[in-house]
């Protein structure tokens, strides 16, 4: 919302400092995003009287003007054709810097010295016209600064208005806020040449006529109040300078005097209005009704719009002329030929406008305001202001007072406030008087009622519906920064911490400790899979599905790293994946995944700058780390392409192995794993007494025939060795052409917890192991 400080000053009847106003509004809840000085760059321009206009001796299209600037008269060469002797124009003398940074110099044009320039509206930044010099209707004496004669210099605040405050979408509303802090009244500025005899609109309940036009509200839900006025005999033309300046000050483009008048009222009072050319209305009738499905209308922007029965329309006797509260129709638009206008001043239901403009995929100044709720009580004043303004700037007469169709007048809203509740919620003692005074200053009439305050809610504050809203008003005016910030005793939360937090923290510690970086990928992807959940309204095909797994995203991240020639990539991610299980919402599961590729350790000069790459045994280790962290009793199984983790109920919860990827020739193999984090509790660690007796070690190299796994061998060894076996570990594997299968070597550590074990006892155990291995697996000791 653009706010003109000049306009606000006029409403408050005093000069307002822009920076102070900006700071106050920000701290009242309407943050000011910028403070822009406009047209201050016209300071050097003055009013000059053109004494004579003669043809340039050497150029047909140029004239030489004798220009009097109040002190001296100079020659100025001019290319425009509209300059007339005896009239006044904006004149930029030599050395003036015009908008855009153009500095004027005295220079010869076709042999005639030109001293400065007579300016067009565009050169002054005051319009589009570049053909003619700007014509001025002014009594100001030559030499008067242009900005004094035409007060276009202003300061524009860009104010962010929250969705609950439609009242701040106009100057009167912003002025009200400032009036509350400056403690001054708000008064509408007088309109030059305006009649002061505009009658109050005539209230009717269902229908009525104005200027011979019958007005009927058929759709009272969509349009609770509709006011219309007829002004005959207007002369359409440009608005006076002051009105154009006002509109420009808020960034609006002047169009013609009637349209400008309605726009002025929009920006001053937040009342959108529409002016119809009375002669272009089909029949002497206005009907406000629901659209019929299949109806169409061509709106002012030239677009044909398809209507539905959920929309409210303004119709004449024959057809739809406007989409209520959104946009007028092209048929009855005000043009240069218009002489009689019908002025519409209505209240449309916010929800109706919202669904309509959403369905039509359009938003206008009017719909934006109706959607947030305009001041239904302020309509009669807004309409009278508009009529006065039109008559002042475009002439014309009202044949009879305006019509006000208001089938079910709304009751004045009011809310009770308990001063004790105000103090309770805000945490500071606040007197009843202080509360009352704050509310009154903000425009809420207050009357005492037992130990409460009875507060009337003005029509411009549709957001205020209950006590707490008024408590906010009190706090807001007092200033949030005025409240202390002191800690008071508190009770601990009854809500337990999510156990996932600790589970994820364990994984995060483990993997960052192992040299992996925590990744974070978007959870929307382009590829589905049969049970991927689809987003109904994706931004593009690339994010049409919720991710089904983490490894796909991590693989893409690795490819991106490869693309910037990063060979060593180590990432892990913990996040939610989604699955379509046929229900309205996807099933959500938390998973952990990791990918590694490239050097297993940083290359070091002691190893001649070479380090081995990650291999399958590294990813198995990472996978085991994750499985142990989330399911201490869990074991992983070897599969054809890697490993998997299966829970006791048989469901596969995780997988590890080599990954397919778009891999450059220089990159290493990519390995990864992914695992559901599940809901297991962290393991409780029980202390095991440290051994006090010496161990006896035995190495055992075995020949494993094809098909016999290390896990199977270990099972038999443990079984056969009994309680004396304290540790068991593979330390070598050998494959040679001379043997079928392979040789795997284990180190066995025997220990008796209560005594020193004798060698013979270890040997006896070993013999049992060998016997058992031969019998159960056909595994024998490798011959030296």
């Amino acid at each position: 919302m653009n706010v003109s400080i000049g306009w606000i000053s006029a409403l408050l009847g005093r000069a307002v400092d822009p920076d102070d106003a900006a700071a106050r509004l920000t701290m009242l809840g309407a943050p000011v995003e910028s403070v822009e000085r406009i047209h201050h760059d016209l300071e050097g321009v003055v009013i000059a009287l053109v004494e004579s206009v003669e043809r340039h001796p050497d150029a047909d299209r140029l004239t030489v003007c004798r220009v009097h600037d109040g002190t001296v008269t100079r020659d100025v060469v001019c290319g425009a054709t509209n300059v007339v002797a005896g009239r006044k124009y904006p004149y930029a003398p030599v050395d003036t810097v015009l908008p855009g940074g153009f500095k004027l110099e005295a220079r010869k044009i076709r042999g005639v010295l030109s001293n400065g320039m007579l300016c067009s509206p565009r050169e002054l930044g005051l319009g589009e016209d570049h053909e003619g010099i700007m014509e001025l209707e002014t009594d100001a004496a030559p030499g008067t600064p242009f900005l004094e004669a035409l007060p276009v210099a202003d300061v524009r605040l860009e104010v962010e208005v929250t969705a609950n405050r439609p009242d701040l979408l106009c100057h009167k509303g912003v002025a009200r806020e400032l009036a509350a802090v400056y403690a001054v009244p708000v008064k509408l500025p007088p309109i030059p040449n305006a009649p002061d005899d505009i009658a109050a609109p005539r209230r009717v309940t269902k229908k009525g006529t104005v200027g011979g036009i019958e007005v009927v509200i058929d759709d009272v839900d969509g349009c609770p109040r509709y006011m219309a006025a007829v002004v005959r005999g207007v002369r359409i033309g440009p608005s006076p300078d002051w009105l154009q300046a006002r509109l420009r000050s808020v960034g609006a483009r002047p169009i013609n005097n009637v349209v400008d008048a309605t726009n002025y009222v929009l920006h001053e009072l937040n009342q959108p209005m529409h002016a119809f050319d009375l002669k272009l209305l089909g029949g002497a009738k206005i009907v406000v009704r629901r659209a019929v499905a299949g109806e169409r209308v061509v709106t002012l922007d030239g677009e044909a719009r398809d209507l539905t029965a959920d929309m409210t329309m303004i119709c004449d006797a024959k057809q739809v002329t406007a989409i209520a509260g959104v946009m007028g129709g092209a048929e009855s638009e005000v043009t240069e030929r218009t002489t009689d206008v019908l002025l519409e001043c209505a209240y449309f239901d916010p929800k109706r406008i919202r669904t309509t403009r959403q369905a039509l995929k359009m938003s206008t100044e009017a719909s934006y305001r109706f959607e947030r709720g305009i001041d239904i009580e302020g309509m009669p004043d807004a309409l009278r202001r508009a009529i006065a303004l039109i008559r002042a700037v475009a002439g014309g007469q009202e044949p009879e007072p305006a019509l006000d169709v208001y089938p079910k007048p709304r009751k004045q809203k009011s809310v009770f406030v308990r001063p004790s509740r105000v103090a309770h919620l805000l945490g500071v003692p606040l007197s009843r008087d202080e509360i009352e005074a704050s509310l009154v200053r903000l425009g809420f009439p207050v009357a005492p009622k037992d130990d409460r305050l009875h507060v009337q809610i003005p029509g411009w504050r549709p957001d205020v519906t209950r006590e707490v809203d008024l408590i906010e008003e009190v706090a807001r005016l007092r200033g949030y920064d005025s409240f202390p910030s002191e800690s008071r005793p508190l009770r601990p939360s009854v809500v337990p911490t999510d156990p996932n937090v600790a589970r994820q923290a364990r994984l995060e510690r483990a993997f960052t400790g192992l040299g992996l970086y925590q990744a974070r990928s978007l959870s929307l992807t382009g590829s589905g899979g049969s049970d991927a959940f689809r987003v109904q309204n994706p931004l593009s095909a690339e994010d049409a599905y919720l991710r089904r797994d983490l490894l796909s995203g991590l693989t893409r991240s690795v490819e991106r790293n490869w693309a910037v020639r990063e060979r060593d990539v180590r990432l892990f991610e913990i996040g939610t994946v989604f699955r379509d299980t046929g229900g309205p919402l996807p099933e959500e599961t938390t998973r952990v995944a990791a990918v590694v590729t490239g050097a297993r350790v940083p290359a070091h000069w002691t190893g001649s700058g070479k380090a081995p790459d990650f291999d399958r045994w590294d990813i198995k280790a990472l996978f085991e780390t994750a499985v142990r962290s989330i399911c201490p009793e869990g074991t992983i199984e070897s599969t054809a392409d890697g490993w998997k983790f299966t829970e006791t109920d048989g469901t596969v919860r995780g997988w590890a192995g080599a990954l397919e990827a778009d891999r450059p020739a220089w990159a290493a193999v990519l390995f990864g794993f992914e695992l559901e984090t599940g809901d297991a509790a962290p393991p409780a660690t029980t202390f095991v007494p440290l051994p006090t007796t010496p161990p006896v070690e035995r190495d055992l190299a075995l020949v494993l025939p094809p098909g016999v796994t290390a896990a199977a061998v270990e099972g038999v060894i443990r079984d056969a060795a009994g309680a004396l076996l304290a540790e068991l570990a593979v330390f070598d594997e050998y494959r040679g052409s001379e043997m079928a299968g392979r040789s795997v070597a284990w180190r066995l550590v025997f220990r008796a917890p209560d005594r020193t074990l004798r060698d013979t006892e270890a040997d006896t155990a070993l013999a049992k192991v060998l016997a058992s291995l031969k019998e159960r697996l056909g595994v024998e000791r490798r011959e030296a």
């Binding site: 969705a163 009854v494 970086y517 060593d568």
Partner: protein
């Protein structure tokens, strides 16, 4: 072989060489060793060898002395050799400026580290950490939070829909409602999590980002407690001298509502590009829980009051580290992530 004429004096001289050992360098040490202990012509070796021809009395006396000296000398030489060897390792052969042998170092994602840091600070104020589903219903995401879809305030939440009434949560606030339906106060929770807005991926927007919601509900929690809680967090997270500003604002689920600004960390309030010349940076939306939200969740709004807040760890991380583009927080570029090793 005869007894040296003055064996006693000779031994006295040899004993003195022990003192020279402690300052000898490697060459001198080798010389000394040969001179005194040399197997063929070492002075002490010769004396010891000659002992056999002496009368028993003299042999015993001289022998004891000679062996004592030999032992002392050998100990001193061994000690000196050790010292010299250490010196050699330090100063002669090894260049200590050569690079060390490191293991790979990993790191938390900067945004998720910030999330943890924020939650830890609120833990000091008695807040527990909870979570909720990312796929939600309109009811929890909007309606229960006093945020009807037919109100323009809903426009700020451009939503990804999953089906009729089903969506990807646009904020972590639905968890407020879920927790309040399940527990009666005192409730103090922080809720970090992923949220979704239908925004194209560009330098300052991401369709997916992190949010942290907070909620404190109990008897007698007032606006003053709210300010104190937020103030405590800001000063702990940024620095004790951080200037905090509370500004009225509008959120459907809080009343009174506030936007919390901190003085710009870049320019210290004088105005710069980061804070768009305002001197302040918005870091969270907050306020007193709206009584309608309590009513929707089965909590008595007359008996209980409370405050709620929401903030964006992505933005806070970007401010803290001077990261210009939010997409860097999702690309998992090793050159980026490795900058956050702590």
């Amino acid at each position: 072989m005869t007894t040296p004429p003055h064996a006693q004096e000779e031994l006295d001289l040899i004993a003195q060489t022990v003192d020279r050992v402690s300052t000898a360098d490697a060459a001198v040490l080798a010389e000394l060793r040969t001179e005194v202990l040399g197997r063929k012509a070492g002075k002490l070796t010769l004396i010891l060898r000659s002992l056999g021809s002496l009368p028993p009395e003299q042999r015993r006396l001289l022998g004891a002395r000679a062996n004592q000296i030999k032992q002392a000398l050998e100990t001193a030489i061994a000690e000196r050799e050790r010292v010299l060897q250490d010196d050699t390792r330090r100063t002669v052969d090894v260049d200590g400026t050569m690079p060390a042998r490191h293991a790979w170092r990993g790191a938390r994602h900067p945004v998720l580290a910030v999330v943890d840091e924020i939650c830890e600070i609120f833990k000091e104020l008695g807040f527990t950490r909870v979570s909720g589903p990312e796929a939600e219903t309109e009811d929890y995401n909007f309606t229960k939070l006093n945020m009807p879809l037919d109100h323009p305030a809903a426009d700020e939440h451009d939503t990804f829909y999953l089906g009729p009434g089903a969506l990807l949560r646009t904020h972590t606030s639905p968890v407020q409602a879920r927790v309040m339906e399940q527990y009666q106060p005192p409730i103090r929770i922080v809720v970090p999590g992923r949220v979704y807005r239908r925004d194209a991926f560009d330098p300052s927007h991401s369709p997916v980002f992190e949010q942290i919601e907070g909620l404190a509900v109990d008897e007698g929690i007032s606006f003053v407690d709210f300010k104190a809680g937020i103030d405590y967090f800001v000063k702990r997270f940024f620095s004790p001298d951080t200037v905090v500003r509370f500004r009225p604002s509008f959120f459907p689920f809080t009343e009174p509502s506030a936007e919390v600004d901190v003085q710009c960390q870049m320019c210290k309030g004088s105005g710069c590009a980061t804070c768009k010349q305002t001197g302040y940076l918005e870091i969270m939306g907050a306020g007193m829980v709206h009584p309608a939200v309590f009513e929707n969740c089965g909590i008595d709004p007359e008996r209980y009051t409370g405050y709620a807040f929401g903030m964006g760890p992505d933005r806070i991380t970007m401010l803290r580290h001077g990261i210009p583009d939010i997409r860097l927080l999702f690309e998992n570029d090793m050159r980026f992530l490795s900058q956050f090793v702590s």
